[in-house]
Amino acid sequence: MPPSEVSNKDHFKEKERSILTGFLLGAVALAPDIVAVILANSVMLLSDLLKSGSETVATFLSWLAVRKVRQGRTFDYNYGQGKLENISSLAVAGAMILSWLIVTYSAIERFRRPTPIGSIGLALFVTSGAGILNLWMWRKNLSLARAEPSPIIESQWRLYRAKSVANICVISSLILSFAFREHSWAAYIDPAGALIISGFLLLSAYRVVTDSIYDLLDRTLDESLQLVILGELAAFFDDYVALHGIRSRRSGSNVYIEIFMEFDSEKRMSEVQELINRMRESLERKIKSSQVVIAPATGPVA
């Protein structure tokens, strides 16, 4: 097995392990969260619980998708695996939007009927623990995403960033609500904090949805990568007779490029093939996770 294939497999395993760790941590944290919500009578904690629940389900879906991709990498999903990653990212975004609706509704209700919060000891303990874990998962997924861009890992680090900020909001809100509990206005701190979380959630969901939707619709490559392709065509300018078309698209973390060009008809097939191989290898070296096809053509290809 070539070294690149081995490291690719290892990377997929690492992705899968990271997402599974996130799911298990999220699932385990749900039980104390429920108790904390009941004891504290906080709309923000309730929202946080619902948010965590939906995110945990979405993380589970992401784990299933990555597992499917790793197992079927060379057989059943030669072209579709990238889309599976995008669909999982949309599931995460769906969970975020649902959470936003719940948080916003609950916060508005609490503004209309202000209620002082109850015992916050357990909630502080649980949220602080979750905050530390979320910060750790955020950093871990961010470094994975930097090593190899992928919609799933991209959505995962954004998710943990959102969760970390949400934890900080919850802790701050609980401490402030408790410290100023003698004042009537302190009852509004809890729903105000909940609205801050909801805004952050909506922003993250928007980013994930736009990235995944464009990729699902086979958006062409970014301009910077298009310029890299053109640069290669300029470098090999004397080796082909005519350029008849370029097609490019992203699918998940993969980049697909098709170049249609005409070669000197006096050249032997073996010479053309050798030239194609050189161009393909050169371009694939310059564009990460790319698969390049150079097809001989004698007329324009739309």
């Binding site: 301009e223 298009q226 310029l227 392709i229 053109l230 640069g231 065509l233 300029a234 470098a235 300018f237 082909y240 007779v241 005519a242 350029l243 370029i246």
Partner: protein, 111 residues
């Protein structure tokens, strides 16, 4: 995007004005390749009014240069602004085109 065409003896001078991007490149492609296919074998592309060129625009110029080579003709560029020149340098296009500082220099080179 404006496309202007004039002639100086046997040389066709094409003036480009505005932005050459994915929205406008198709029009330029049709016009440039149309001129070459019609038999114009000496061409100056005057880029003095060209504010911006994207990868789609570069692709059209590359196709035109190739078509011109097939017909044993010659296509040269003139008066690229600094931004456009930077894109040419970055992609290596400066090495595949003859680029002149002014339209007059480019016409002289074609004579």
């Amino acid at each position: 995007m404006e496309f202007m065409e004039e002639r100086h003896e046997a040389i066709v001078i094409v003036g480009l004005r505005g932005r050459m991007d994915s929205n406008t490149a198709r029009l330029v492609e049709e016009k440039l390749l149309g001129l070459i296919d019609a038999g114009d074998s000496r061409m100056v592309v005057d880029c003095a009014g060209l504010d911006y060129i994207s990868s789609a625009g570069l692709r059209v110029l590359l196709m035109a240069a190739k078509r011109m080579t097939q017909t044993k003709g010659k296509l040269v560029l003139a008066a690229l602004n600094d931004d456009v020149k930077q894109v040419f340098d970055l992609t290596g296009f400066s090495s595949i085109f003859q680029i002149y500082g002014s339209r007059e220099d480019a016409i002289s080179a074609q004579q």
